[in-house]
Subunit: 412 residues, 2 copies
């Protein structure tokens, strides 16, 4: 079938992505959890640390026994024991008593604070002079200071950072339920495109998109599966797409810059059983020719062939789908930091479509200045020389020099 | 030997790191180059794209033949051929002639611009009406627009991003010379620390640092090698350190919160042949107990035991060393984005040491507001609830509410 389909707004594409169900969960060992997405919230199975710990070396005390103590009026306490690391003390403190304790040690019963060793002077083996008062709780962590049993610590959909991995370790989680990584088939087309290992003759260029798409897919948490170069004809494209659908959740097709390929790609995608055209054209630059066909066995996506456009379109239109499949909100530019900057030149723009312009950044007096790289959008080097992107909204005739804009920084 | 050693400034530690020689280079296939660091600059071996390409579908023309053409005064051109994708055209254009061309096609000799198909009307098989003029070079990429032969495109020490991988592909680089990944042995100590799989009894806590350090090491481009938990005694520590030195470029020891361990760690590290004490104490919080011993077979580093302090100290003091070993400048917080924010509360600080405070961020009227998380620095949850760090400079009594500060954002 060949459907008439209207060019859609970027937001509409994100709304479609947001409706997708996340992929099923799988269990991974803690060592492999970094960067994965939690498939269920992390709730504390027990209090953390679970007991009162010293955060300084010194003496565990009853805080009230130190009240009023100071350099000129020190107090005196009896040392009745020493806390051993990793053991619950087998003694408790009565009035006027204290115990030696190291950082991380468990306070004995009766104690509610720690006096730092720097504020004490040992008089003899059983007596210490205390030259500072300490409030109850001073220099300690309470049993639930890091977490109370049952507390939600990390939400469903959290992408695990190093500190989150640390928290999972602290709570004894050796196996983590995370969303499965989306498998992404990558197909490049174009009769002018040759493999990286070839020497292009005049008129030919090397296959850049397979490699750069594999890189961004991996960074987005997906598993890239490069399927190679496919000649510019419907039969070869259908065969490669069928191979990708057999196992991949998502298929990315880039290239097809020649008119013919653009014409038959949607037909090939729609020839699979149950295929449904979701998007054919988006009111955005780059990304206008974006194509999204859903089939029962996977999503088929068409991207611009020019490499710079292809990468920007990926971050804007494909990464939200990958995010959602991993159980996260379908947001674009998920890995870009955002910084405010002042434009140094006008950016003219035609209303009616969103635009993403590459910019170079430099710092002046502690503020960022953004220069639009107008150059030719097919140039790979605009992604190398630039540091980020500036969005020109849809219903806007451009942005003015000296206007403050948000720059989306290319991830490292 | 036991050396007297003065507490050093953070900058002095970075200066020491900057003097280290990078690790030897190794060759990796293009598919494994993402995130690695270039061991030699990338110079274009040939022009890119190497020929003049169309960036639009339309007609290759001699620009001067279109001058003066417009909606009301169209020009007429003879169609003398069609450019096939991936082939050098075997014809050339004379005055008044044009050729069909698709995006990415190579311009025939004589042509110097492309008229977009939208600005033309086909009159018959050999005549096209042109309703717009085009400047020389219009809708084309020149032979050296992406790169000229011999041009340096990526510097030595570049950490390869997806677009860099694309550029390497475009230039036919199948094998890339990158710095070897630093191997990093990770040792945790502390008699109160038990493995993640254990159920801690009162007084015990699980081993968090091994897991969170492995995560940040991997993110910093290193190869983490967890060596497990080591009891708090000099013999066991020496044995584990020797194991790590046998193969690892760097050894990270964390824990040793008890007084005894702190006392013997530097002695154990210095007991290896040729060992040299570089740093013993840094004027910074967290990170004060940082220890750096260099031996002929590797660097031995001691980090604070409290997990939150340990991670911040890693980013500040260890990552610069890992960056340098990979051939990059020894800069801290290499993967943190920096955003300006306004403080919502005073941050008091003692002069004489730098301080890094965790902050929570929220947005208000398009600006970021940073609230310091004063909490207890041992708490892991300050790294979970916070979004970044604010630096309080060394010779400063603190920062004032409503002051603008730079926030270092925790990487995702």
């Amino acid at each position: 079938m060949k459907a008439f389909f209207q060019v859609q707004d970027v937001d509409a594409v994100h709304a479609l992505a947001q409706e997708l169900p996340p992929l099923p969960a799988e269990e991974v060992p803690l060592e492999q959890a970094l960067g994965r997405v939690l498939a269920r919230p992390l709730t504390a199975p027990a209090d953390l640390p679970g007991f009162t710990r010293a955060t300084m070396d010194g003496y565990a005390v009853r805080a009230r026994d130190t009240f009023g103590a100071g350099e000129t009026a020190p107090g005196f306490l009896d040392i009745v024991g020493e806390v051993r690391m990793g053991r619950a003390p087998d003694f408790s403190l009565g009035p006027g008593q204290c115990a030696r304790i190291g950082t991380g040690g468990m306070l004995p019963a009766g104690a509610d604070a720690v006096v730092m060793v720097e504020h004490t002077r040992l008089l003899d083996e059983t007596t210490v002079e205390v030259a500072a008062s300490v409030a109850p709780g001073g220099n300690t962590l309470g049993p639930t200071d890091d977490a109370a049993q049952g507390q939600e610590l990390l939400p469903l959909g959290q992408r695990l950072r190093p500190q989150d991995v640390g928290l999972l370790a602290a709570l004894g989680q050796e196996k983590i339920m995370v969303s499965r990584r989306p498998k992404v088939g990558i197909i490049s087309t174009g009769d002018e495109v040759v493999p990286v290992g070839s020497s292009p003759t005049p008129g030919q260029v090397r296959d850049v998109n397979t490699h750069s798409l594999a890189a961004v897919v991996a960074r987005a948490g997906g598993e890239p599966l490069p399927l190679g170069l496919v000649p510019d004809n419907a039969g070869a494209l259908r065969e490669a797409t069928a191979r990708s659908l057999d196992g991949c959740d998502l298929t990315l097709l880039s290239g097809g810059s020649s008119v013919g390929v653009r014409d038959f790609t949607s037909e090939v995608f729609l020839s699979f059983p149950g295929a449904e055209l979701l998007v054919h054209g988006v009111a955005v630059s780059p990304g206008k020719p974006f194509l999204w066909v859903r089939t029962p066995s996977g999503h088929l996506l068409g991207l611009p062939g020019q490499v710079a456009s292809c990468l920007v379109a990926f971050y804007l239109l494909v990464e939200p789908i990958l995010e959602r499949l991993q159980g996260r909100p379908a947001l674009p530019f998920a890995r870009f930091a955002r910084v405010p900057a002042v434009l140094v030149r006008n950016i003219p723009s035609a209303p009616g479509r969103e635009e993403y312009l590459r910019v170079a950044l430099r710092q002046e007096n502690g503020h960022w200045l953004a220069s639009p790289l107008f150059g030719k959008s097919g140039l790979l080097t605009t992604l190398i020389q630039g540091q980020g992107l500036v969005r020109v909204p849809k219903d806007c005739e451009g942005l003015d020099a000296s206007e403050e804009v948000e720059v989306l920084l290319f991830p490292n």
